[in-house]
Symmetry: C2
Subunit: 404 residues, 2 copies
């Protein structure tokens, strides 16, 4: 893509009304635009990054047997009354249709929708297991929305729900999802920063699990076991004071942001909605459920918090809207290389703007694409290569660029 065709502009200075670093940088780089506290719009580069995250997650959810669906954001109040959460969940946005007088809820999560939906398609044990997921903008009336993309009143999420005939099948699937999540965070380039964290399991299971990404900007405190590389969330650690895996006693407190969670729901929702099936003996049983979430827009915020310097964002390759940022020191000098690279399917943002080289370099650092290429008259056919995350410059041939 040519940078001149990008309508979003970068900003030299931090916006006044933002506390969080991720929002400051993403706003300045033109990835997002702020609508109001906790609500952002996504400009072309931000949407591309979000879609990259989405596509990586989708691949792993499909590989784990998930079927993609889309559930409505408008929910009837009646569904939330069935579970009692209409009165207990404080983040619900509630309103009434003027015309139909229906009471609505804006969906912050979809157990109340997915359970009757799957119920309508299940009668026998032969219909199970079922695993469905969606990508969706969700809504929460958050008390504080000052963490930028990390705690939005409107946010993009992947939520998957699984339905099983028995505990063992849920346990197996839960294990499969743990692996799928680990693979997702690995592919996103934040595997080394993301730790499996033991959290409360509700009434059905001893533990649920959060995937916590270590960052000072995180709103959570977790306790990291350096012996077995798992962590415990604050609530559980106050009760137990040990690592739940190896029993180690001295865990290191550390700030982190929750980027995913997996939870054994058991029969809580299938009981409420009478989501039953006939087993092999003709007996009627309630399905056993699990739910598995990843905050897609939150991830973008968390990645920026964990990966930046004083010049700007540093994006992992899996997330970056483009792999290469091509800069020319004289107008038109990069055109041929740009055409060659895009012709071979390489992902390039070509800064063809009529601005100073200094401004281009500053913007490249701010935008944070993984590899910066510079062409100049001095270099001739050679190309200057710098990784955003490193200081070293290399001078390479085109053939070397293809191998990067």
């Amino acid at each position: 893509m040519k940078q001149s065709s990008l309508f979003s502009k970068t900003q030299k200075f931090n916006p006044q009304d933002e506390e969080s670093l991720n929002a400051k940088l993403l706003l300045r780089a033109g990835y997002v635009y702020k609508i109001m506290a906790g609500v952002y719009s996504y400009l072309p580069l931000g949407l591309m990054a979000l879609k990259n995250i989405e596509n990586i997650i989708r691949k792993h959810m499909v590989a784990a047997g998930g079927s993609e669906i889309y559930m409505s954001a408008l929910h009837p109040k009646s569904a939330w009354e069935v579970t009692g959460r209409y009165d207990t969940l404080d983040v619900l946005f509630r309103f009434t249709s003027f015309y139909s007088r229906t009471d609505y809820v804006l969906g912050p999560t979809h157990e109340e929708i997915v359970t009757p939906l799957v119920k309508a398609n299940v009668s026998s044990y032969r219909d199970l297991p079922i695993s469905v997921f969606q990508f969706q903008w969700k809504f929460r009336d958050e008390k504080r929305a000052k963490s930028g993309l990390m705690r939005g009143r409107e946010f993009y999420m992947k939520d998957l729900y699984s339905f099983h005939t028995n505990q063992e099948d849920l346990d197996d699937y839960y294990e499969k999802m743990t692996k799928a999540y680990t693979a997702v965070f690995q592919e996103l380039g934040i595997g080394d920063k993301t730790v499996l964290t033991y959290a409360s399991g509700g009434t059905f299971a001893k533990y649920s699990h959060e995937f916590q990404m270590i960052t000072d900007a995180g709103e959570d405190l977790i306790h990291l076991c350096e012996k077995c590389h798992v962590a415990v969330n604050d609530e559980i650690y106050e009760e137990q004071n040990t690592c739940p895996v190896c029993g180690e006693k001295n865990l290191q407190p550390i700030k982190a942001a929750e980027v995913g969670n997996i939870f054994k729901l058991g029969t809580k929702f299938s009981k409420a909605f009478e989501m039953k099936f006939k087993d092999q003996n003709g007996e009627t049983k309630e399905a056993i459920m699990g739910c598995y979430g990843i905050g897609v827009s939150r991830l973008l915020g968390a990645i920026v918090e964990a990966s930046h310097d004083d010049k700007g964002i540093i994006l992992p390759e899996g997330v970056a809207p483009f792999k290469f940022h091509l800069i020319e020191t004289k107008r038109g000098l990069g055109q041929e290389l740009y055409e060659k690279m895009t012709g071979e399917g390489m992902s390039v943002l070509y800064d063809d703007r009529d601005v100073s080289a200094g401004e281009k370099f500053a913007d490249a650092d701010l935008l944070g694409l993984p590899i910066r290429l510079v062409v100049s008259e001095k270099l001739g056919d050679k190309i200057e290569v710098k990784r955003r995350a490193k200081e070293e410059l290399e001078i390479l041939n085109y053939e070397d660029i293809r191998k990067l």
Copy 2:
């Protein structure tokens, strides 16, 4: 895809609480699931069809220079007060955050959001024109929501907004969009049913244009000129009584459903939000805007209304979740062909279920995929081919199937 892995089930009988034929058929075929009046969830086949429509539209919007963004569904009341539409637009869902006390609107359209957003990125005529679009679930408190997917309280839409320095540039772009829309409907397989319809242009232009798809289930009455193949909407026809293109007087009244519209907004929104730029002479001017919408989920409903028979849906190839529906008369008989076809990248739904051949044929008709293939012991290596839209059966070799 194997049909046994599809969790959605077909239904033999029409749902009780639906008046509209599109919803009845899409519910019975397992494309959608009804949440409440005007609100549907999309099951795997329905979501695939929706994504097919989305991808065709996206291709043409990008080709016409559009940049994809995503704007929030939560809008601040304040933005809608600027244009006065907070009090005049009856379809607005309005509510208040418990925590922040912010008054919100759920976006039914995005002029109030896109204008300040683009304004923040424009200072000079050099920054224009700009054309941005999004795919988004939108919300309207519809008085009547009895037309299934054709009039939802939550619905999927593509909206594009363009910003220009002068009238001529808007006119050119409007012409370009007219062509892009025509190409979209052509590629969706409904080009022959969709007519350009003259509608009121507001204060800025003589006309706007609707793309109306001819169907008895449409909520609109249009007047079709058989001489020049355009139409006039009811409002304009009552005023003018002639074809606006050729002057023909006897236009044929016909029912139709609006599937797209294009509108010259002029300076209505740029004035309200002071969206200005400096022109070549240093003078400050307001940008001239256009907006261009396509109802994506409505299109799916309209296509089903216009293309079905008493056995079920008949989907155009561009929309259908799969091109081929492979049926076997004995279990396992289709496996080899399925693997061969998918291995070569063909799009196949393989009915590998343990149900009667009669049930399979009935479901194939209900689902409405374009080409049904049947393998049986009697046919040997040959394959029975039937197009959903036609009665004839053909017996073909595999090589012929590849050419379909």
